[in-house]
């Protein structure tokens, strides 16, 4: 099989195992490309991509833009912290206006869950979801799995704990779907107020004691607390959160085995992980960032090849 089963990347839940395998194999190639002296290939010279960010983003937007440019695509950027609805224009109208300038693909980040799915039903372009509310962030999950595969050889059979604000996290949800699809075991860990009540029905373990969770896992993916998505305080103070769910070097060194630390960024140093953990040899946080470009190149390349058909 040499093409994706989907025309859009809306979420991991819409992919199959072979899709993930294909994306990883393609990313292997692009990772080699971006480490060459000339980091660019001409593959998408005839493709125009719009990056629409209706929510603040720095690293994801830069990573996508870099991936697009390394594939020689034409790129336009649109950023607005305000959602289109607040400005009085509907999302469909905003995107159709941009598409009428002959754009082939839309990379979109949006504060509402399902915005990408909604758009894919109403506009004629290939859609890449760069994060939709607390729903999915598929390229992040792909690069996370890719980084685990790089470190351990395969994802299958590995034990991964996702720590922190699971309730508001699209990274958590996409990671759960991606890891399970590849045969990994997944646990979530955090204060009960930040764990969805029915998450166990997705087949994940739930743990509220961080030490127990870390002793169980091979890899800990530490999430940021998403204060911007909270309508009420879900815990009394950051200090108290860190006391229970922050990883410091002392805790890391006291575990039964050497685990790997991941973080989707941006890190709140001293909150979910301390600096010495973030910068330790057990951390693969910067590898994740580099793999992000290769993964996004792979996704865009594979979707673009379906447009050309």
């Amino acid at each position: 099989m040499s093409e994706l089963s989907v025309n859009h990347l809306l979420g991991i839940k819409y992919l199959n195992k072979q899709d993930i395998q294909l994306i990883f194999e393609t990313a292997d190639h692009f990772k080699e490309v971006i480490n060459r002296p000339i980091k660019k290939v001409p593959s998408l010279r005839d493709i125009t991509i719009a990056n629409l960010f209706f929510e603040n983003s720095t690293r994801t937007r830069l990573s996508f833009e870099l991936a697009e440019k390394r594939l020689s695509a034409d790129v336009i950027n649109f950023s607005s912290a305000q959602s289109s609805v607040k400005k009085g224009e509907t999302l469909i109208d905003t995107v159709n206006n941009i598409l009428s300038m002959k754009v082939d693909m839309v990379v979109m980040r949006h504060p509402n869950p399902g915005a990408g799915v909604f758009l894919s039903k109403h506009v004629k372009a290939s859609i890449v979801n760069a994060g939709d509310g607390a729903h999915e962030h598929p390229t992040q999950a792909l690069l996370d799995s890719y980084s685990i595969r790089e470190k351990y050889g395969e994802v299958k059979g590995k034990k991964i704990v996702i720590v922190g604000d699971i309730l508001h996290s699209r990274v958590a949800l996409s990671n759960i779907f991606a890891l399970q699809l590849q045969g990994a075991q997944v646990m979530v860990c955090g204060p009960k107020t930040l764990i969805p009540k029915y998450i166990d029905k997705l087949g994940v373990k739930v743990e509220t004691n961080l030490r127990t969770a870390l002793n169980w896992c091979d890899v800990a993916n530490m999430l940021r607390v998403q204060n911007e998505r909270m309508d009420i305080s879900y815990f009394p103070s950051t200090r108290e959160y860190t006391q229970q769910f922050g990883v410091n070097k002392e805790l890391l060194d006291s575990l039964d085995k050497e685990i790997t630390i991941m973080h989707p960024g941006p890190i709140n140093r001293g909150v979910e992980i301390t600096s010495d953990v973030a910068d330790s040899k057990q951390s693969i946080i910067l590898e994740q960032v580099q793999n992000g470009v290769a993964i996004r190149m792979a996704v865009i390349y594979l979707l673009a090849s379906k447009i050309k058909q």
Binding site: K13, V85, T90, L91, I92, H110, N112, P113, G114, A115, V117, F118, K121, H122, D132, G133, A134, H135, E136, R170, L173, P196, K197, Y198, I199, K201, L202, D231, I232
Partner: protein, 417 residues
């Protein structure tokens, strides 16, 4: 009105002709003869339809027509036409208009718009001024103007003391208070049922707990005040249990359920389809089973279409931003028949009136004719061509339904589709 209805199977347990096929002669709006092979010497209009059935006129306890203020969603005129085509002779219209129906002149306006129509429109007044949940509206005055109940449509009364006062105050004049079963603080930003589907879609959940807390609270207040309460559109198994227990205690409480909450479960919302965004939200199979049991054993007093036309601009948007609601009059009979027997369906469609103080007219000689004509056996897939409403937000689109109305005879008028 003089007509002869030919070969109609009468479905009316209170009639001596129940479950028999008869001709019905109507003179000056009154049933003058019921019998086999009636003659028509005066050449009255004859009504004949394939597999014609006839029952008492159907009643819906909760519809929205948008007028005044939201005529782009629906007008009273077209709303009543929709009701007639769908077989309803009486509908209770909610106060969620702009301005809100919260005074006697508002009630009079709505009634004037429905004058001389075959469908009787009953007005529900707001419980609080502008439905803001702060101060009681002029309930006594509205009752005198014809309001049949008081309800801030889908807006819970957050202040328990205000609900207590409403129940006490209305008992002076036998007013019926309605309370939407939701605790807004628990619901928070929830937009669908809290469960596995909301979790996997990343949508905020609205848990059963929210509804059941409010129902519990209202039942405590009812016990204290000994007032008269109707809880519209319950959706959880827990609510059914709570109300069942309250009825055992002889509290004066009734409740309803929306047809779509009997038909669908939350797992149908797999791709963020806003047609399924309703309030209360679609729940689980366990809830649906308990609700159907509640309808069967009489714990739930009435089933409503909860007809709420919403224009496409408020539906064709991201799920979080989409308005709640679905139209339901057109699909009500067909959907109910997919869930219940014909006898039970007709019972459901005709029995809610008494709670609102409206008299029922049985199909017997000497009575005025207030009936629905229908064919219970037509099978069809509900589609946009079946929609009469101005707005097309139909949760039942593409569903296989059974049974259609032919029309109504009501208020001395014959309305045929």
């Amino acid at each position: 009105m003089n007509i002869l209805i030919k070969s109609a199977t009468i479905i009316d347990p209170k009639s001596e002709f129940h479950n028999t096929t008869q001709d019905i002669l109507v003179e000056k709006g009154i049933i003058s003869q019921i019998g086999q092979h009636l003659k028509n010497p005066k050449k009255y209009q004859e009504i004949t339809f394939e597999n014609l059935h006839i029952s008492q006129g159907w009643f819906d306890s909760s519809v929205c027509f948008g007028e005044p203020g939201f005529e782009e969603r629906e007008t009273i005129k077209n709303g009543l036409k929709t009701a007639a085509v769908s077989g309803f002779t009486t509908v209770a219209m909610n106060a969620n208009t702009h301005p809100v129906i919260d005074s006697n002149s508002d009630i009079a306006f709505v009634q004037s718009k429905a004058q001389n129509h075959s469908v009787t429109l009953l007005a529900i007044g707001a419980l609080t001024r502008e439905s803001k949940g702060e101060d009681l509206a002029e309930l006594y005055d509205m009752k005198n103007a014809g309001a049949i109940a008081f309800y801030d449509y889908k807006k819970p009364i957050a202040n328990p003391n205000l609900m207590k006062l409403a129940l006490q105050y209305t008992s002076n004049f036998d007013g019926l208070v309605c309370s939407f079963p939701q605790d807004n603080k628990i619901t928070g930003l929830g937009v669908m049922n809290e469960n596995i589907t909301s979790t996997s879609l990343g949508l905020k959940g609205n848990p059963n707990l929210s509804e059941e807390l409010q129902v519990s609270r209202d039942l405590f207040l009812l016990e204290y005040t000994q007032g008269k309460l109707h809880i519209p559109t319950i959706s959880t198994a827990g609510s059914v249990s709570l109300i069942r227990e309250a009825k055992k205690k002889k509290l004066d409480v009734t409740c309803s359920v929306a047809i779509h909450n009997l038909f669908f479960t939350d797992d149908i919302i797999t791709d963020f389809n806003t047609a399924y965004k309703v309030l209360p939200p679609l729940r689980t199979q366990e809830d649906v089973d308990a609700l159907i049991e509640g309808v069967k054993d009489g714990t739930i007093d009435m089933v409503t279409s909860d007809h709420n036309p919403i224009d496409i601009e408020l539906k064709k948007v991201e799920f979080d931003h989409a308005a709640y609601g679905t139209i339901g009059l057109e699909s009500a009979f067909g959907a109910l028949q997919s869930l219940f027997t014909l006898k039970k369906t007709i019972d459901i469609l005709t029995k809610g009136k008494a709670r609102f103080g409206i008299e029922q007219s049985t199909i017997n000689i000497g009575n005025a004719l207030n009936v629905t004509l229908f064919n219970p056996d037509i099978k069809y897939t509900f589609s946009t061509k079946d929609i009469i409403s101005k707005s097309k937000n139909a949760i039942f689109e593409n569903q296989a339904l059974k049974g259609k109305a032919y029309g109504i005879i009501s208020n001395g008028q014959l309305f045929l589709n």
